[in-house]
């Protein structure tokens, strides 16, 4: 035990004197967590709180286009500005650029006439199918399309949602006109406003409820998503210090001397595991603490810790051990510090990408989705998400923990094989 303790003390001393290593392991991930969470939080706000700015050039003078603008306004996700003069793509593009608008819509000049004709035709068809006499059904063409210009930075998902919103406003206008025509044809008087509102506006409400295992109803936010994900990234980033430290020891004469002493090098490997496991736990503690106490001060949502703190500790411990084992594995096989750092950094980015840290794994398809299962970061993230977002407890993450332990055991075997193969033990 004395040998192990002395080795741990030695490793801690070297670590604490490695200012660059400490910056890489603590400062960089902290900056990463704050920056990424801030950016994602802005995106969340853009979608959820801020309204998208839309310029509408209405070249029509009738009622239908006015109703369409009113309906678009009612959707709630747009800040509408009317720009009557910007009728061409060039003018609209310049106006969008000058006014920071994401969208520009041009309503065609004969919109009302065409909507009116289409609704009368539809109403006539309906009356005929009911067996009632109506106006002669005239064959009419489609309404000229609305033109929607958009800023290319608008993501496709958001663009589709915008399109859906405008389409529903358009549908409402056309339905209203059809309903009015139909009512007038039957009753020969205009549709009463109250009835019209009841028929068209009485939408059934949709209750949105986040699913959780512990019954809490906390709405997930950028912090709850990002803090656990980037904590995992930080843990695996110990490779930049640990992988290099093993290579340094191997290539320096100290390793030759260690081999001539009556102590097995496994003591050194176990010491490094304990030392860096403490580092990963400290990283998690620092990043979680920042999420809880610092984030609210910089305008970000505070991190809510899971109710099962024991499960959180166990998951963090196992994730940390897996990260440390991976780092040692790379250090054992790398021949130079450049190899360890280069391969280490690139492999961590790849593992985090396929593991769902950068793109949610549910959004992945085919090979990428299968590859996620081979990234230990994926199982770390699933465990954290279960605890942080779904209100899960130890029982909910036990399968993920077992998988992580299996991956760690395989890495330990590879380390042993590597040390034997390179005649290091």
């Amino acid at each position: 035990m004395f040998k192990l303790w002395t080795t741990i003390v030695k490793d801690f001393r070297i670590l604490l004197r490695d200012k660059v290593g400490i910056s890489l392991m603590f400062v960089m991930p902290i900056i990463l967590v704050v920056v990424v969470t801030s950016i994602q939080n802005s995106t969340f706000n853009l979608v959820n709180k801020n309204k998208l700015s839309v310029l509408i050039c209405n070249t029509d003078t009738g009622q239908a286009s006015m109703q369409l603008i009113k309906s678009i306004n009612k959707i709630g996700m747009f800040k509408v500005s009317l720009v009557p003069n910007y009728k061409t793509e060039k003018l609209m593009g310049d106006a969008m650029h000058n006014q920071d608008a994401m969208l520009g819509v041009i309503i065609p000049s004969n919109f009302t006439i065409q909507v009116d004709a289409k609704s009368k035709s539809t109403a006539g068809k309906a009356l005929k199918s009911f067996g009632l006499d109506g106006d002669t059904v005239k064959k009419v063409g489609d309404v000229d399309p609305l033109t929607m210009y958009y800023n290319p930075i608008l993501q496709e998902s958001l663009r589709l949602s915008v399109q859906g919103g405008i389409r529903s406003a358009l549908q409402l206008v056309e339905s209203r006109e059809t309903l009015r025509s139909l009512y007038f044809s039957i009753n020969e008087k205009p549709l009463p406003e109250q009835l019209e509102n009841e028929m068209l506006n009485n939408n059934t409400a949709i209750n949105e409820i986040p699913v959780s295992k512990d019954g809490t109803r906390a709405t997930p936010n950028a912090t709850q998503h990002n803090v656990p994900a980037w904590t995992i990234f930080a843990m695996f980033f110990v490779i930049m210090s640990l992988g290099g430290s093993i290579v340094r020891e191997k290539v320096s004469g100290s390793f030759i001397r260690l081999k001539t002493l009556p102590t097995n090098y496994w003591v050194g490997i176990i010491s490094k595991q304990i030392t860096y496991l403490c580092v990963t736990l400290l990283q998690a503690a620092v990043i979680f603490s920042m999420g809880i106490w610092l984030f609210p001060y910089i305008g970000l949502p505070a991190l809510n810790l899971p109710s099962d703190v024991l499960a959180l500790f166990i998951v963090t411990l196992v994730c940390g051990w897996c990260a440390v084992s991976y780092s040692i594995c790379v250090g054992v096989f790398a021949d130079t510090q450049e190899q360890a750092n280069g391969f280490g950094a690139v492999s961590i980015v790849i593992l985090s990408s396929i593991g769902g840290l950068m793109v949610p794994s549910f959004a992945m398809q085919g090979f990428a989705k299968s590859a996620a299962n081979f990234s230990p970061m994926h199982w770390c993230l699933q465990s954290y998400y279960s605890l942080f977002l779904e209100g899960g407890n130890l029982r909910d993450v036990v399968n993920n923990i077992i998988l992580l332990l299996i991956i760690t055991a395989v890495l330990q075997l590879v380390i042993f094989w590597g040390l034997k193969r390179k005649n290091l033990i």
Binding site: K3, T7, R17, R257, T260, P262, V267
Partner: protein, 252 residues
């Protein structure tokens, strides 16, 4: 040469070659070094000195024959029992430059199997003898080459080994440090330690060693007391003897 005293090193009929590299290999090598000897192992670059020391310290394992240290066969027994017998002072600075001399000695002392009290006692002794007391708590990376050499030596002898392998222990140091190191090696030898020494500084070797072996091409080409070898080959110094037996061509 017949060695009748108890043997510190006994190599019998040893064979070794690096896989895929036939440049340095030993075949049927025999070498005996008596206990308490100051033994110098010399040869040109690539002659096999480092390989031979690696085989004697267990860093490499012989393909055939046997290598015994104080009667214990290297590579056949538990490393922890044979590795206690010797200390190794490599040519490279084989310690942690980020640590102080005390911290290095604490760590390597523990790995050498010493207790906490023994480490403290030996650390104080060694730092005093080697003139490092004043810098005992400073990081070694800020030391001069001579101070680093002394730290290197202190670590190699912290556990009072019976055999000490010294690979160029004074290379790159000033005259004063070189002199102090050689004096300390004499002191260790007087206290019973066997010294196995390699160096290219032959004048220093003449001062330190009374038994020498010249090695070239994986073979021991001469071995005896320095006085006898000089007399037999009609040379006036180890340097002349060395050039006479190994030639004047460049070695890689």
């Amino acid at each position: 040469m017949a060695v009748t005293a108890p043997l510190a090193i006994d190599i019998e009929n040893m064979g070794f070659h690096y896989p895929g590299n036939a440049d340095v290999s030993f075949s049927g090598l025999n070498l005996k070094v008596a206990k308490g000897e100051r033994f110098g192992l010399f040869g040109p670059n690539g002659a096999g000195k480092t390989t031979l020391i690696s085989l004697m310290t267990g860093l490499l394992t012989a393909d055939s024959g046997q290598v015994k240290l104080l009667g214990h066969e290297m590579g056949k027994q538990n490393n922890s029992s044979t590795n206690k017998l010797f200390g190794f002072v490599p040519q490279d600075f084989s310690f942690y430059q980020e640590l102080s001399p005390v911290e290095n000695l604490e760590f390597f002392g523990a790995w050498a199997g010493l207790s906490k009290q023994a480490i403290k006692r030996r650390t104080d002794e060694l730092l005093t003898i080697l003139g490092l007391q004043e810098v005992r708590n400073k990081q070694v990376q800020k030391f001069s080459g001579g101070m680093k050499r002394r730290v290197n030596l202190a670590i190699g002898v912290i556990h009072n080994p019976e055999i000490i392998f010294l690979d160029e222990p004074t290379v790159g140091v000033d005259v004063q440090t070189g002199h102090a190191i050689v004096n300390y090696l004499h002191e260790l030898n007087n206290n019973g330690a066997t010294l196995i020494y390699t160096s290219h500084q032959l004048s220093e070797a003449e001062e330190l060693c009374h038994q020498v072996a010249l090695i070239d091409g994986g073979k021991i080409i001469a071995q005896d007391s320095l006085t006898k070898l000089l007399k037999t080959h009609g040379q006036e110094s180890l340097e002349h003897l060395f050039l006479n037996l190994t030639g004047k061509d460049y070695r890689n």
